[in-house]
């Protein structure tokens, strides 16, 4: 945790939430997609992150991330006390990109805590934070994909041999389809992974 000159601890999550509140004060609460877009920018989230890269990004935002063997009934957990924030993600998940999905889900719940501190909760009494966090995770991954695939497309288009270039486009198309499918159906993929693991 970074220390300010007056000795108080800096809370990057709270700073981010403050910025979101000040930008969207007129139309509160923000849509999950809009929040996801701002988050991807702020966090530096990419579609394909290694565990070490995730840890580094989290550390930069004052959150300690670890991967561990967790009880069977959970995929991830977060806790916060004062300015200490910690996320633990199961190391036994088989579905691809499930780690980053869970990370985003836990972050959304941490963000909600900060919004509540600011008196600007985004979740109504009847809404479920669990559901919103899932939507947020999906929206973040789609947003990151939308930013990354044009870069891949550019790379493919720079290939000189025509047939290789078209093959690149085709592969990229299939890959993009699989990626977006995995964003939307992550929970189902995880269920299948869990069944296979048993």
């Amino acid at each position: 945790m970074q220390l300010l000159t007056d000795g108080t601890e800096k809370n990057p999550l709270l700073d981010f939430c403050l910025r979101v509140v000040s930008q969207d004060v007129e139309k509160w609460p923000p849509k999950e997609e809009a929040l996801a877009e701002a988050f991807v920018d702020w966090f530096g989230f990419h579609s394909f992150l290694t565990r070490d890269a995730m840890k580094q990004l989290c550390r930069a935002k004052g959150v300690r991330l670890s991967f561990d063997s967790l009880p069977q009934d959970i995929r991830g957990i977060h806790c916060s006390f004062q300015n200490k924030k910690e996320i633990v993600i199961t190391e036994n998940e088989l579905a691809p990109c499930a780690d980053s999905h869970t990370l985003l889900h836990e972050f959304r719940e941490l963000l909600e805590n900060e919004f509540m501190v600011l008196g600007r909760a985004t979740i109504g009494a009847k809404d479920s934070l669990e559901v919103q966090a899932e939507i947020f995770a999906i929206a973040c991954r789609i947003e990151a994909g939308k930013r990354q695939f044009p870069v891949f497309l550019e790379m493919a288009s720079s290939v000189e041999k025509r047939w290789v270039r078209y093959l690149g486009y085709a592969c990229l198309g299939v890959f993009a389809l699989a990626y977006f499918f995995s964003c939307i159906y992550m929970r189902q993929m995880e269920e299948i992974g869990s069944e296979a693991h048993r």
Partner: protein, 124 residues
């Protein structure tokens, strides 16, 4: 018993002073030279070692193993209730189902202990 005493960083003499049990007797119990002590002595030792009296009763064979499981469960449930009612501590999980298992409750309590540096579970 020796492991427990060592883990608390206590000497036989210190235990004697605090629990009012002779150090020679404690030493013999630790080496298995004496039969399990009377429940009253175990109560004093439990206080000195900061563990549940019941835990020592189970270790000494006064209580059944089944009760040991029940005690652990109760201890975790009680600690979990404390954790979820502490407004300064916030937590959340990404659940596979809808019910929070005892193992998960224990994990949450352990994370609470780690972040707040407060001890709630006594060897459960």
């Amino acid at each position: 018993m020796r492991r427990l005493r060592k883990s608390r960083g206590l000497t036989l003499k210190q235990v004697e002073t605090q629990a009012k049990v002779s150090n020679a007797y404690i030493s013999q119990i630790e080496r298995g030279l004496r039969r399990p002590p009377h429940p009253e002595i175990l109560r004093r030792l439990a206080k000195t070692y900061d563990v549940e009296h019941r835990q020592l009763l189970i270790a000494a064979g006064y209580l059944e193993e089944d009760s040991a499981e029940a005690i652990k469960r109760r201890q975790v449930e009680e600690a979990y209730q404390h954790v979820i009612t502490d407004p300064s501590f916030r937590h959340g999980t990404r659940l596979k189902g809808t019910r929070v298992s005892l193992d998960t409750k224990r994990l949450i309590v352990e994370m609470y202990e780690k972040l707040t540096e407060r001890k709630l579970l006594k060897g459960a």
